[in-house]
């Protein structure tokens, strides 16, 4: 996935000279995860190492976007985004709205998110619902290298600000061939990863790879795996169509359970497709605790056995 994101950045910078990448250590160092590795050689003026200041990176990116650039701001880790939240909520998300369309803020804030790499505190957080709750933002999470390239290209071309969360756990865990040629994947559309008829399993980001492992071991149960791809705006139609078919739903996500993305999915299903349900909807999620240090993270993260158990439970109805 790291190479796929790098390829998307390169492709978009070649395609549009207003695209710039800025962040901490993104230049000479190529980023702490090597996502921007080598780009500074080809774009010496457009890969910009900034001071260590997340508010400044996001705040000046807003100004850069207003001034005609397309900034792709990298925040080094999920847990460091929060100092930029005021800029995201008070400005980035609402520039179009508060200027009644006179000004736009086409920019991307991308950062590695989530656990599973035994990192320090503040380096393993999954808080997508926090961003999805902000009107005016789009929140995109790829699960595969192929999707990462196509979704990032779309995010950079989008006329509105996009939060692009990269599941660092699968940065180097999935190997697949990614086309060298240009392609985009539409933001706001979920992907039916595998069709099935008994249970709808909804996941995104790192939970997709884990869900595929579930499918390998689940035996006779026919599971339809939906990769949400975009958290906001959410593809409600694809979810509801699947629910009409299966009547059973399991949602797997890393973020804390309460007030999470899973809760929103459940709300939409029960508001609009309650009578198709054959069983209560099950969530397999992180718990409502601060993301634990590495020694406890395996208990926190949704895993194959927890998801398998949830699927078996909804099948009892």
């Amino acid at each position: 996935m790291v190479q796929a994101i790098n390829a998307a950045l390169r492709q978009e910078m070649e395609r549009d000279e207003s695209v710039i990448v800025l962040g901490e250590d993104v230049g000479v160092d190529g980023g702490v995860f090597r996502v921007t590795d080598g780009l500074i050689k080809d774009f010496p003026d457009r890969i910009i190492d900034t001071p260590l200041a997340e508010l400044g990176i996001i705040g000046t990116s807003i100004g850069l976007a207003l001034g005609g650039m397309k900034p792709v701001a990298e925040i080094q880790f999920d847990g460091f985004v929060y100092s930029g939240l005021d800029q995201m909520i008070s400005h980035m998300s609402r520039i179009r709205n508060r200027s009644r369309g006179r000004y736009k803020c086409p920019m991307v804030v991308r950062f590695p998110y989530g656990g599973g790499i035994k990192a320090l505190e503040h380096h393993s957080e999954a808080m997508e619902a926090l961003f999805a709750h902000i009107p005016g933002l789009k929140v995109v999470i790829p699960s595969t290298p192929y999707d990462a390239k196509g979704l990032l290209a779309s995010a950079i071309r989008d006329p509105d600000p996009v939060i692009f969360m990269e599941p660092k756990r699968v940065y180097r865990a999935i190997k697949e061939d990614v086309p060298e040629e240009e392609y985009t994947i539409e933001i706001g559309k979920a992907n039916i990863h595998k069709e099935g008829s008994d249970v709808t399993l909804i996941a995104w980001g790192s939970a997709v790879k884990m869900s595929l492992d579930v499918l390998d071991k689940i035996g006779d149960i026919s599971v339809e795996l939906i990769d949400l791809r975009t958290i906001s705006p959410m593809d409600t139609e694809t979810i509801l169509n699947s629910v009409r078919k299966t009547g059973r739903v399991v949602i797997a996500h890393e973020e804390p359970q309460s007030f999470g993305t899973g809760a929103e999915i459940m709300a939409r299903i029960t508001e609009r497709e309650l009578l198709s349900l054959k069983a209560p909807i099950k969530r397999v999620t992180g718990y409502d605790v601060p993301t634990p240090y590495p020694k406890l993270e395996n208990y926190y993260l949704p895993n194959v056995s927890r998801v398998t158990k949830a699927i078996q439970e909804v099948m009892k109805f």
């Binding site: 807003i62 100004g63 850069l64 005609g68 400005h91 508060r98 369309g101 509105d160 139609e237």
Partner: protein, 356 residues
């Protein structure tokens, strides 16, 4: 042990026109009579508009409003700009809005709580007002940075108060500006009160101007009630930025004669005596004295100018009051470039509810 000095700095103070209307001719910027009258007219315009807006609030015809009374010399900064330059205001820059060409009707609409007013017309190069203190500073820096990267000849000017200098946005914005040497001018309207908190509670530093030095560029404190000093300092800063010399911080020492907003009562935290002292330093009175002395301004012209802007403000208010209230769709139409299906559903719901 004898320690070596490795850095030294001083902070300059600029006053050209004193409170009695006497100018230091050696320091006077090169201004034509027409330009001097432009400054005077726009200060009068600002005050008349401000008084009218204040009254409209008291009559319940607009919402909470923050007066600019006493801070009209801010228009000096507008004269220092070229059309292609951009300004990033906060919420007490009425003089800048009017001088840059923001239509009064729309500006009143904004203050009345109608978001349609915030659509700044094409050709008026300014950003919408920022309400969260200091948050606009990084935007101006990023904008100036974009102009530098795009090799476009434009300078960004950002306005903020003394309270803003306490916030991280100020630090991070100034730090980026210095590091990347962007064409940005920081105008601190130090009116000495952030609602009830005096300047001495914002910082232990003697001036705001000196903070620039820590970011690697120049800062100057000027008499913010002296429109010539405000103009000259900002003009120098803008020229420097335009020629690639990087950012400058201009601290305009002024005073907020009015309350913080129409929801505030400043009598609770400051004395009448203090306010009266500053009334004597009124930026308009001293300019009037100077221009009268120089025979640029006559009583007849004074009356003519006042009458002109009173008439224009009245006409704008009349037009503003004829505007129909917004429809509920207005909430939804500019959230995204393309409205997502869920939002469309909610918009239909809101429209339906509005009809009931």
């Amino acid at each position: 042990m004898v320690l070596q000095d490795i850095a030294e700095f001083s902070v300059k103070w600029l006053q050209i026109l004193d409170e009695n209307g006497k100018a230091d001719e050696k320091l006077m910027p090169k201004l034509t009579e027409k330009q001097m009258l432009w400054l005077y007219e726009h200060m009068i315009f600002t005050r008349i508009f401000d008084e009218k807006a204040f009254k409209l609030q008291r009559q319940g015809r607009i919402g909470t409003y923050g007066q600019s009374l006493g801070q009209e010399a801010q228009v000096g900064t507008a004269l220092a700009l070229q059309e292609q330059d951009w300004v990033f205001p906060c919420f007490r820059e009425h003089g800048i809005f009017l001088a840059r060409g923001m239509p009064m009707v729309q500006y009143l609409q904004t203050w009345s709580g109608d978001e349609r007013g915030a659509h700044i017309p094409e050709g008026v190069n300014m950003f919408t007002m920022a309400v969260p203190v200091a948050t606009q500073i990084p935007h101006a820096v990023g904008f100036a940075w974009a102009k530098k990267l795009r090799k476009e000849n434009a300078v960004a000017v950002v306005y903020f108060g003394d309270g803003a200098t306490s916030r991280g946005d100020f630090h991070e914005g100034m730090n980026f500006a210095g590091t990347f040497k962007v064409p940005c001018v920081f105008v601190c309207q130090n009116n000495q009160w952030a609602i009830s908190v005096p300047f001495s509670r914002q910082t232990a530093a003697k001036t705001v101007a000196q903070k620039a030095i820590a970011y690697g560029f120049d800062g100057i404190r000027v008499d913010g009630n002296d429109v010539f000093a405000v103009y000259l300092a900002v003009k120098d800063a803008v020229d420097k930025a335009r020629s690639g010399g990087g950012p400058t911080l201009v601290e305009c020492l002024t005073y907020r004669i009015g309350d913080h907003t129409t929801s505030d009562d400043a009598k609770k935290y400051r004395t009448e005596k203090e306010v009266d002292e500053w009334r004597k330093k009124d930026p308009i009175i001293r300019l009037e004295k100077y221009l009268t002395e120089k025979k640029i301004l006559t009583d007849a012209l004074k009356q003519e100018i006042a009458a002109k802007y009173e008439r224009e403000v009245e006409e704008a208010v009349k037009k503003f009051e004829l505007i129909e209230p917004p429809e509920p769709e207005e909430m939804f139409t500019n959230v995204y470039g393309v409205m997502p299906p869920e939002l469309e559903r909610q918009m239909k719901e809101a429209k339906g509810n509005a009809k009931q």
